[in-house]
């Protein structure tokens, strides 16, 4: 009788303690099912992670399928499958439908590579799992205070996505054809007027076309930093109007007299390679080198950034709210920012994408490895790129410019 009573008391005590612990854990992490990292690894083993991403860049596909997938299998027993999509916004639409239909678990998408616009949509509609990024062991290598990591297109990240790499816009040209390319946006615009039919940009809402329009927007408004602050309706409307006017006036000097536009940067790259236009635009500083290496561009192709700078950003991966393999996805996201994976990704022979982690935070041997990476013949130096960076405006500006471009420039209203 006494013994039974004691057991009961211990049981009661344990329940109380575990209740306290649970309450403490709950108050510390917003996730009720928070696991320690070793538990995450345990759950992840054997899971199959379907990673939906834009599949238009062969070197990215090769990096993911040829390197990341076998490595996460080897290290963590996670089966990674890349699911290439044309536009990740299709997946966001799909998630929204699943949310409406109440499909809260067992979703098809485990990990997705998203951009700022779609991140904003996902965040506003609670389509994301997390915060999870702050729980990844390798996040200590990321400098979260950097504006382009802290905010994704002006939208606070808040641990809902994990950085993967960084990118910056560069202009691509063939030095064999154009020995002295224009150095500023103003000079480029003059060049376009003087050489009708030799320039094109992809039609927004294509990502690359859209970023070109934002450079014009910065050019006419004369100040990139201003737009990072509070949104100013009046100033925006003035600058946007000037942007559309300029692009509309420029249209007859474009490829095909601006009657049609390339649908994406891949088509634009073909036009440059085929000699139909003299410039291409890329959001990947090392893409031109990679394409020379692959024999798609001639050896004489080079890149440049404008004197006033070009737009740069960080790209992220996120986990949908209903992902079937959340733990597996977290393990993959963590592996992506490991020094090993980031170094491999930065290799121009592989992809040449710029690191999302802060190289300074690594120990000297790793730093040395990053610094001694061969740079592609057409890739600008880190210094040249980093001293010419402009921030992305908040995605509200981006969306309004895309809509405005379609209305005023494309349809001429």
């Amino acid at each position: 009788m006494r013994g039974k009573k004691r057991i009961f008391r211990i049981d009661y005590f344990l329940k109380l303690v575990s209740g306290f612990i649970a309450a403490a854990v709950l108050s510390l992490t917003p996730q009720a099912n928070a696991l320690t990292w070793s538990q995450v690894l345990e759950h992840a083993r054997g899971q199959t992670v379907d990673w939906f991403m834009w599949g238009g860049f062969p070197s990215t596909n090769a990096y993911v399928n040829g390197y990341v997938a076998p490595r996460v299998k080897e290290l963590y027993g996670v089966n990674l499958r890349q699911v290439p999509v044309k536009d990740i916004s299709e997946i966001v639409s799909k998630l929204l439908v699943e949310q409406q239909a109440g499909k809260n678990e067992g979703g098809e998408v485990d990990l997705m590579w998203i951009n700022g616009e779609n991140f904003r949509t996902c965040k506003k509609n609670n389509l994301l799992h997390g915060p999870f990024a702050d729980r990844l062991p390798n996040q200590k290598l990321v400098d979260w205070t950097r504006p382009s990591v802290h905010n994704d297109f002006g939208e606070p990240v808040q641990g809902l996505e994990s950085p993967w790499g960084s990118a910056q816009v560069v202009m691509i040209y063939d030095s064999g054809r154009i020995p002295h390319p224009p150095q500023t946006m103003g000079d480029l615009l003059d060049w376009i007027r003087k050489h009708p039919g030799r320039f094109a940009y992809p039609a927004p809402p294509d990502f690359t076309g859209s970023v070109f329009v934002r450079h014009i927007f910065y050019h006419v408004s004369g100040d990139a930093a201003f737009w990072q602050g509070e949104f100013d309706e009046k100033r925006f409307n003035e600058a946007a109007k000037k942007t559309y006017m300029l692009l509309k006036e420029m249209a007859p000097s474009l490829w095909r007299q601006g009657m049609t536009y390339p649908e994406n940067p891949v088509r634009l790259a073909h036009l440059l390679a085929d000699g139909e236009v003299d410039f291409a635009i890329s959001y990947h500083p090392a893409e031109a080198s990679k394409m020379i290496h692959d024999g798609l561009y001639p050896e004489t192709v080079r890149t440049f950034v404008f004197k006033e700078g070009t737009i740069s950003n960080t790209h992220f991966v996120a986990i949908p709210f209903n992902a079937a393999a959340k733990e597996g996805a977290m393990v993959v996201a963590d592996f992506l920012i490991s020094p090993e994976a980031q170094l491999k990704k930065a290799d121009p022979e592989v992809w040449g994408d710029f690191p999302a982690i802060d190289i300074e935070r690594l120990d000297p041997t790793w730093q040395e490895k990053f610094n001694s990476l061969p740079r592609g013949i057409a890739t600008l130096s880190n210094r040249e790129l980093q001293t010419h960076q402009l921030p992305e405006p908040p995605s509200e500006i981006l969306i309004r410019l895309e809509k405005g471009w379609q209305k005023h420039v494309l349809k001429g209203r």
Binding site: D87, S89, E90, V92, S93, L96, Q100, E117, N118, T121, N125, G197, A203, P205, R256, M259, T260, Y261, E263, L271, D274, G275, E276, I399, E402, K403, Q406, L410, K411, R413
Partner: protein
């Protein structure tokens, strides 16, 4: 294009009156049921869901009330008429060209009495090529720096790639029409050949003994013989070209865009409010196709009643 309707038709022409009589209604019902079920549940269900979504308020949280707002937005868009005209123009033109060329091709093949099995085999190859592949092939061949242009440049037919005629992403949808014509000719030809092979030759001989000229034989014997299957094939092709997305997306102009491209753009817009409009556009496309089919059937019936042989 799915080759299935073709098989269905071939079977029905091969079936003679006796077997049709002996097949009881219930057996037919059992045989048709699986296919009918799939069509009704998957296609009809999708259509109904689409209609509901295009009528629903957004976000879904307060979607108790139905609204015609999205349809109104699409229909009142100044671009709608332009897109509709362009889409109608592209699909009727490509259907008409494909039909005329198919009739000519079928007649030649019958006249040369080419072995049907061989023709069937050859024609099945383009039928199995996806439209997307056709679009990319057309792009590589006909763009200003494509294969044709490069050959023309090499042989001095043009002085620079800029003087090659614009056939891709052009104002008149030439690239789109060419891609569709290439893809649909084998389909229509096979449909016509199936009929001509069974009935055409004897009747033509009768016509010849009655001293009918080549044009008379074509007008009063061949055309009435092939017109039901030709009409059916043309309607399928029209419906497909009116609603398909990939070829106009790759080979069309950025603006004005064909209705299917417009629907896709709205559906995949970052602005989620554009989604119901994308679905509404899709429903409108389906509506136009249904109207076109009903109209075509009514016209044919009326023509038959008035005794016009067609």
């Amino acid at each position: 294009m799915n080759p299935e309707p073709l098989n269905v038709y071939t079977i029905s022409t091969d079936t003679d009156a006796r077997t049709r009589e002996s097949t009881s209604l219930s057996t037919t019902g059992v045989l048709v049921a699986p296919a009918l079920l799939v069509v009704v549940v998957l296609f009809g269900g999708g259509l109904v869901l689409g209609v509901i979504q295009s009528l629903a308020h957004f976000p879904a949280a307060d979607s108790d009330r139905l609204t015609f707002e999205h349809f109104a937005n699409v229909l009142s868009d100044p671009d709608f008429l332009q897109s509709l005209t362009l889409t109608l123009y592209v699909s009727t033109t490509s259907t008409a060209i494909a039909a005329v060329l198919s009739i000519m091709l079928a007649l030649v093949l019958i006249a040369l009495s080419v072995r049907y099995r061989f023709v069937h085999f050859i024609f099945q190859i383009p039928l199995t090529v996806p439209h997307l592949v056709v679009a990319v092939a057309v792009l590589f061949m006909l763009s200003p720096t494509g294969i044709f242009s490069r050959f023309a440049l090499k042989f001095g037919l043009i002085d620079s790639s800029a003087s090659f005629p614009l056939l891709i992403n052009d104002r008149w949808g030439i690239g789109i029409i060419l891609a569709y014509v290439w893809k649909e000719i084998p389909f229509i030809t096979l449909m016509i050949l199936a009929v001509l092979r069974n009935t055409g030759v004897e009747l033509l001989e009768v016509g010849r003994t009655l001293k009918a000229g080549p044009w008379q034989r074509f007008r009063y014997i061949t055309l009435p013989t092939i017109s039901p299957s030709l009409g059916a094939a043309c309607l399928i092709v029209f419906a497909y070209t009116f609603g398909a997305f990939e070829i106009p997306f790759l080979l069309g102009q950025t603006y004005p865009m064909m209705l299917p491209v417009w629907a896709y753009k709205n559906y995949s817009d970052v602005d989620l409010l554009a989604r119901p409009e994308g679905i509404a556009t899709g429903i409108i496309i389906a509506g136009v196709i249904i109207v076109a089919i009903v109209l075509a059937q009514t016209l044919i019936q009326a023509a038959r009643r008035r005794g016009v042989v067609l």
